[in-house]
C-alpha cells in the first residue's frame, strides 16, 4: 500500500517536472494564431493570464517547416554550437584528463595548494570573473572569435575535478604492479589510468556537453559578430510573432542533449555509484 502511495507521489512530482517539456512539444505543433492567442497576455502586456491547452486545437507542422527549411540563420547558429561544443570537449580531453591524472596520481610539490586554487576557481560564478576574462581576451586579441569561448572552457576546472575523483579511486596496487612490470608513467596513464577512469571521463564529457551546449553568458559577452553566435542565443532574438518557431527551436536544441544523455548517462550513474562505493 505504502508503495503505491509513494509511487503516486513520485509520479506527480515527475509530472510536474515534465510539464514544461510537454508544453514545449505541444506548442511546437501549434499554429501561429493559436500560440499568439495563448501567450498574448504575457508577451504583449495585456490583461489576463497566459493559458495553454494540453493538446493543440489545430495541430500543424508549419513551424517545423519554417524553422528547418526557411531559416538559414538557425542552422548557422546550430553548427556554431556543434563546433564550439566538440572543440571544447576535445580540448578538455587533451588537457583535463592528464591534469586530473597528475593531481590524483603524481607527486608534484604544491599540488594541494594548486588543487585548492582549482576548487576555489570552480566555485566562482562567471559574472565574477567576466571582467578579467574580457580584459585578458582583449589583450590576446581573441575577442569576437570562437577561441574566446573555446580556450577558457578547455582549461576549465570542473572536468578536472570530476575526473580527479575517479582517478583517485583507482587502487595504487594496480599501478605499482604495472610499474614493476616495467611500465613508464605515460604507459600507465594510457593503458591503465584512462580505461579505468573512463567512466569518469565520459561523465565529465556528458556534463560538459550539457553545459557547453547551453552556454549563454560567454557568447553574449565575448561575441559581437552575430554570425558566430551559438544556438542558445537564437531564442532571445525571437518575439511573439515567431513564438511557434521559438518552441520548435527549443525542441531542436533539446534533442541532442537528450540523445547525449541517453548515450552517456549510464556512465554518469556508474561513476556516481563508484565514487559512493569507494568511501
Amino acid at each position: 500500500m505504502k508503495k503505491v502511495w509513494l509511487w503516486l507521489l513520485l509520479c506527480v512530482l515527475a509530472a510536474v517536472v515534465c510539464i514544461p517539456m510537454y508544453f514545449l512539444i505541444d506548442g511546437s505543433l501549434m499554429g501561429k494564431g493559436e500560440v499568439t492567442e495563448y501567450l498574448a497576455p504575457v508577451m504583449q502586456n495585456k490583461n489576463g493570464f497566459a493559458s495553454f491547452r494540453l493538446l493543440p486545437m489545430y495541430p500543424t507542422l508549419r513551424s517545423y517547416v519554417e524553422l528547418l527549411l526557411d531559416s538559414p540563420e538557425f542552422f548557422v547558429m546550430f553548427w556554431n554550437s556543434v563546433k564550439l561544443t566538440l572543440l571544447i570537449l576535445a580540448g578538455q580531453l587533451v588537457t583535463g584528463v592528464p591534469a586530473a591524472w597528475g593531481f590524483a596520481r603524481l607527486r608534484i610539490p604544491g599540488k594541494r595548494m594548486l588543487f585548492q586554487l582549482y576548487v576555489i576557481l570552480m566555485l566562482m560564478p562567471f559574472q565574477v570573473t567576466m571582467l578579467s576574462n574580457y580584459l585578458t581576451l582583449d589583450r590576446l586579441r581573441l575577442l569576437d572569435t570562437h577561441a574566446a569561448i573555446i580556450l577558457p572552457a578547455v582549461f576549465s576546472t570542473f572536468p578536472v575535478f570530476l575526473m580527479y575523483r575517479f582517478f583517485e579511486n583507482i587502487p595504487e596496487s594496480i599501478l605499482e604492479s604495472a610499474r614493476v612490470d616495467g611500465a613508464g608513467s605515460w604507459t600507465i596513464f594510457r593503458k591503465i589510468g584512462v580505461p579505468l577512469g573512463s567512466s569518469g571521463i565520459v561523465s565529465a564529457m556528458v556534463l560538459g556537453f550539457l553545459e557547453y551546449w547551453n552556454l549563454i553568458e560567454q557568447p553574449l559577452v565575448f561575441l559581437k559578430d552575430k554570425s558566430l553566435w551559438p544556438l542558445s542565443l537564437y531564442l532571445p532574438n525571437i518575439g511573439l510573432e515567431e513564438a511557434g518557431m521559438a518552441f520548435v527551436a527549443s525542441v531542436v536544441t533539446l534533442i541532442p542533449s537528450l540523445l547525449v544523455f541517453f548515450a552517456g548517462g549510464e556512465y554518469l550513474e556508474q561513476g556516481i555509484a563508484a565514487s559512493a562505493v569507494k568511501e
Binding site: 573512463s198 541532442p256 541517453f262 563508484a274 569507494k278
Partner: protein, 473 residues
Amino acid sequence: MEIQSLWQIKWGQKGESSTQKKALRYLAAFLALMVLCTLLSGAADALTLARIKTEAIRPMSLKHDTSLSGTLSPKYEQAVFTLPDQKVSSVQVKEGDMVKEGDILFQVDLEELEEQLERARDELKKAEYQQKDTNSAGALEAKEKQKAEARAREDYDHTLEEADRKIREAEAAWADAQARLDIIRDKTVTPETDADAGQGYTQEQKQQDINSLEQETDARKQDYDAAVAEKEEKMRNAGRQVEDASSPSPSNHSNAIAELDQKEIERRIQKLEQLKEDGGAVRSTMDGVVKKLETATGQITSSTMAALLTDTSNGYRFEAAASKNEIKYLAVGDEVTLDFGDQYEPVSGLRIESIEAAGEDSDQSLISLDVPPQKEKLPSTAELKASRTTKKYTAVVPVEALRVEKGKYFLYMPSEKESVLGKITVVERVDVEILDKNDQYAAVEGAFLESNEVLVHSNKTVNTGDRVRKEES
C-alpha cells in the same frame, strides 16, 4: 572487492546496453538530418532571395533632347498685281508651280483691255477740257475783282476830298462867325440920343448882336463838328469798302489738281498700253513658286493681289507650335538642327530666333527661326531637334531606380549589415527630391546611404529591410 566493482565498469560491449547504442544511432541520425535541413534551407533561401542590380550614384550633367514638328515656309514673298477690272482669259500656272522671272502667270482679255484704253483716253480729254474751262473762268474772276478794287479806291479818294472840303467850308464859316462876333464884341457902344435915333449903337443892340452872333458861331461850330464826324464815318465806310475789295481770294490749286488727275490717267493709259503691247500677259516678277493664285479664268481682276509668289533664294522661316512642357528646355539663341527625314540632308547650326505665346492660349508657344537658303529646295515640314546639357548635378541615378508612392519619390539603396548569416545586403528606402529628369536619368537629392548605390532592377518585389543578393554584372 574494490577492484571487482571497478572492473565491472566497462565500456558497453556490442550487443549490450541497447539504450546507449540506440541513443548514439539517433544522435548520428539527428546530425545527418540537421545537415540535410541546412542544405535545404540554404537552397530555399537562395531561391527566395531577390537578386538585384545596382548602379552607383554619380555626378553627371543631364542631356535634354527636344523634338518638335513644324512647318517651313519660304521667307520671301512677293505679290503680283495687275490692273483692276480686267477680264482673265486664261491662267497659265497653278499654285505650287515654280516660275522664273518673266513667265506668264495669266492673260487678260485684249478686247476688254482695248475698251478700257479708249475710255481712259476719253477721260483724259475730258479732264483737259475741264481744266481749260476752269482756267478761263478763273481769269475772268480775277479781272472783275481788280476792277472792284480800283473803284473802291477811287470812291475812297473822292469821299476824302469831299469830306475835307466840307470841313474846310464849315471851318471857314465858323471862323467867319467867330470873327464877326469878335468884331461886335469889340464894337464900341454909343449911347442913344433922341436925335440920332436909329443911328447909334446901343448896348442892347450890341447885346442882341452878340447873342445872335454867338448863336451863329455855335451853330457854325456844330456844323464844323458835324462835318468832322461825317468825314470820320464816311472815311470809315470807304476804308472798309476798300478793304473788302482788296481781301485776298481763296487759294485755287484746281489747276494743279487737275494736272495731277491727268497725270494719273496718263499713267493708267500707259499701263494699259504696256499690257496691250505684251498681249495681255501678266508675268512673274521673280523666280519662285506660285504660292497663291487669286484669279481664275473668267474672273474680273481686282485691285488686290492677283498672285503670290514665294522665293526660296532668300531662305526659309521655320515655325512650330508647342506646349509649355515641350519647350521647357529651349531658349532663344539655342543651337538646333532641322531634320527632314531620309530624303534630305539635315540642316544644323541654326539658332532659335523667338519663342512667343501663340495667341490667347498661354499654354501654346510659337517657336520660329530663320533658315538660310540651301542648295536644294526644302520640303514644307521639318522636325526641330535640340539638345541641351544641364550643369553637373552631384547625384544622378538611372530613371529605373526611381519609385513613387503616394506622390513621393524614393529609392532603394543597398546597405551592408551584420547578421547571423554574416555580412548581408539589405535594401533601405531613401526618400528623395527630384531636381531634374530626362528619359534616362534623374538628378536627385536626399539622405543617401554609405554604399552610394541604388537598386535599379530586382527580379522580385522588395520592401525596405529585405535581404537581397547583388548580382554580378
